[in-house]
């Protein structure tokens, strides 16, 4: 395996959890809900996903456990913010704290255990093609799913009626409500979808990335996913670009260090953040203000009148 090929494979793996979590959050925010609990849902997905895979021996079951755990936690958020109209920022932060604590408790019994990492695709001939074979046909299911997910989200948002309604709910919940759309129900589904995606993103870490569970192993990836959604101006295409750019710079700076380029490591560590923010801001500027507005009702509480 050549160095460039190895680097590309590492980049894809590093970008995938960010992409999965951010894709889910994009739908949530497009529906007008700001769920800051991504980190909490991710770590719950990691703990439960590992537990599922460890107990059953199946990566697939583990991934389902992760999705279910993320959804369960996001349901708590939905009850608070949609049902009881609690402030979304406060509820989201509380969700993160809850998720970190609860996942530590659930995962405590699994610390130090090992599982078999997610299997990689292997197609005769195709996987063996030099350079692109491993990259295109030798990845694990999470990676293919993340790409399919973003394409699906793009199609849903811009090519389906349901997607149009979801965007309408996010831009003006009062108008959507007046037209007879069930605003809270749509938001509930969006929040659950976001929770499931975050849970899956979390599960990716112990199931495929580093096959063991340790409390706090998401190490802030949920926050990066949140930031990516904002900097990509809520557009799925830019989200992919942002996630992969972040992953690429994170991996390349490690290689640059190993080559001994002598650039201060603190700067190198900050580089993924700087590069992603700069590039996405530049893209947004180039497109003008029209293409990059936040969902107008984002983060505001909606209480339907009778």
């Amino acid at each position: 395996m050549g160095l460039v090929e190895a680097i590309v494979i590492s980049i894809i793996a590093a970008s995938t959890p960010l992409l999965l979590a951010a894709a889910g959050e994009l739908i949530v925010e497009r529906a007008g809900v700001l769920n800051l609990g991504v980190e909490g849902m991710m770590i719950m997905g990691a703990a439960c996903g590992f537990a599922g895979a460890y107990l059953t021996g199946s990566t697939f079951v583990g991934a389902l456990f992760g999705v279910a755990a993320g959804m369960a936690l996001s349901f708590v958020f939905a009850v608070l913010t949609l049902g009881l109209a609690v402030n979304q920022v406060a509820a989201g932060l509380a969700l993160t704290i809850l998720g970190i604590g609860l996942s530590g408790l659930i995962g405590a019994g699994f610390v130090g255990e090992k599982i078999v990492p997610a299997p990689q695709l292997s197609i005769p001939v195709l996987t063996g093609i030099p350079f692109i074979g491993r990259i295109l046909f030798g990845q694990n299911a999470f990676i293919y799913f993340s790409i399919a997910l973003v394409i699906g989200i793009w199609w849903f948002l811009y090519r389906t009626r349901a997607g149009l309604i979801l965007r309408a709910v996010g831009d003006s919940h009062t108008s959507a409500h007046a037209l007879g759309y069930p605003v809270l129900k749509i938001r509930l589904l969006a929040v659950l979808f976001g929770g499931g995606c975050a849970g899956l993103a979390g599960a990716f870490l112990p199931l495929a990335y580093t096959p063991f569970f340790i409390p706090g192993m998401t190490a802030g990836r949920g926050w990066i996913a949140l930031a990516l959604v904002v900097f990509s101006s809520w557009l799925p295409g830019r989200l992919v670009a942002g996630a992969y750019l972040f992953g690429a710079v994170s991996i390349l700076q490690l290689h640059a260090q190993a080559f001994g380029l002598g650039i201060p490591s603190q700067l190198m560590t900050a580089l993924p953040y700087l590069a992603t923010v700069m590039v996405l801001v530049i893209i947004s500027r180039a497109r003008g203000a029209a293409g990059s507005v936040a969902p107008a009702s984002l983060g505001t509480v909606f209480v339907p009148d009778r």
Binding site: S10, G220, A258
Partner: protein, 360 residues
């Protein structure tokens, strides 16, 4: 209703008073501030193991509390204050970054006893303790120098602080003692704990031709990558053989337990004093995991090196130590570098091609 409230308040007061008396009279309340989660399998985990050992040995005489995931820096102050305010008589702050906050809180609570790990600032009620981990690193260097076929070692550093720098230098000096041409590639991840990033760094090093990995970060991620890639690695802080049965050569084990028991006993007996403790292989604060996955002659050499360090015949930083610039480092300790030079190490030794990450 008012009466009921009064009674309740009085009862609560009495309860609080008795609780306070009970602890003050015969129980020592010991508090711990942890950097990571207790299940990190690394640095924090080993402090937790030591805390449990203290509880086991001293039983009813101590009551312990720990706060985990406490961020380093000024933010840690409120956590330390919290322990101080809730009647803890002896407080261990277990990471370098808690140094200044610990100094500050120790000043505010002169009657309490504080112990700070790996720092260098002391006060009348604030002692410091650390392990001479570089001794273990030197042995790892000897093993790595023997085991590497590519002649290139990989080192994952957390932050460029003296503790980590001295570890890198000791490793290289050890490796040079068996292979003068050994090379090392260093990656700083600027975090103590991020399994994903540690794994990324390990992959990057393996991709660049490293065949023996070592790390100064806290999770077993690098060990797992090494296992997948079929190269060798060393554990960190605790025995990580479980994550690489065919990969781990050995591991430095941080053995804080005996020290914690000793200090708690001293506090109970009223003989506790703020001191500077810096123990190594000889005092068994630093232990080596079994030497595995290596030929017998390398194992014998590792054991011989360990025995020589324990006996005081071998010092990893024996003068002359040559710096990266080719000049001899001033030898303040007579035969070896003095502890201050090691604890404040701010240079790379000759043979490391990388640029030194600190000031200068």
């Amino acid at each position: 209703m008012k009466k009921l409230l009064m009674t309740a308040a009085a009862a609560a007061l009495t309860l609080a008073a008795t609780a306070f008396n009970a602890t003050a009279a015969d129980k020592l309340k010991v508090g711990f501030i942890y950097l990571g989660p207790v299940g990190d399998l690394g640095w924090t985990y080993m402090h937790e193991v030591a805390r449990q050992m203290m509880v086991k040995e001293l039983g009813d005489k101590v009551e312990t509390t720990y706060l985990e995931n406490v961020n380093e820096g000024p933010d840690s102050e409120r956590s330390i204050v919290q322990l101080a305010r809730t009647g803890h008589d002896l407080i261990f702050t277990t990471s370098f970054g808690y140094m200044d906050p610990t100094v500050k809180v120790a000043k505010q609570f002169p009657k309490l006893k504080f112990e700070h790990a790996t720092g260098y600032k002391r006060a009348e009620n604030l002692g410091t303790y650390s392990g001479r981990f570089y001794e273990g690193r030197y042995i790892q260097g000897v093993i790595a120098g023997k085991m590497s076929k590519t002649g290139t070692l990989g080192y994952i550093g957390s932050f460029p602080i003296p503790e980590v720098i001295s570890g890198i230098n000791a490793t290289i000096l050890g490796a040079q003692s068996v292979n003068p041409n050994i090379k090392v590639k260093i990656i700083w991840v600027n975090t103590w704990f991020d399994p994903g990033k540690e794994a990324d760094a390990a992959k990057a090093l393996a991709d660049q031709g490293v065949d023996v990995l070592m790390q100064h970060t806290d999770s077993p991620a690098a060990m797992q990558v090494a296992a997948q890639r079929g190269i060798y690695a060393f554990g960190q802080d605790s025995d990580m053989i479980k994550f690489g049965p065919k990969t781990q050569l050995t591991s430095i084990i941080n053995n804080w337990g005996p020290y914690y028991v000793k200090q708690a006993k001293a506090a109970l007996a009223g003989t506790w004093k703020a001191e500077d403790t810096w123990d190594g292989l000889k005092e068994k604060m630093v232990l080596m995991a079994p030497y595995t996955n290596m030929p017998d002659d390398v194992k014998a050499l590792a054991e011989k090196t360990e025995a020589a360090i324990v006996a005081g015949e071998l010092h990893p930083f024996k003068c002359p130590v040559i710096g990266q610039d080719g000049k001899e480092v001033e030898c303040k300790g007579g035969k070896n570098l003095d502890p201050g030079q090691i604890l404040g190490m701010n240079f790379y030794v000759k043979g490391i091609d990388d640029k030194f990450p600190g000031g200068k």
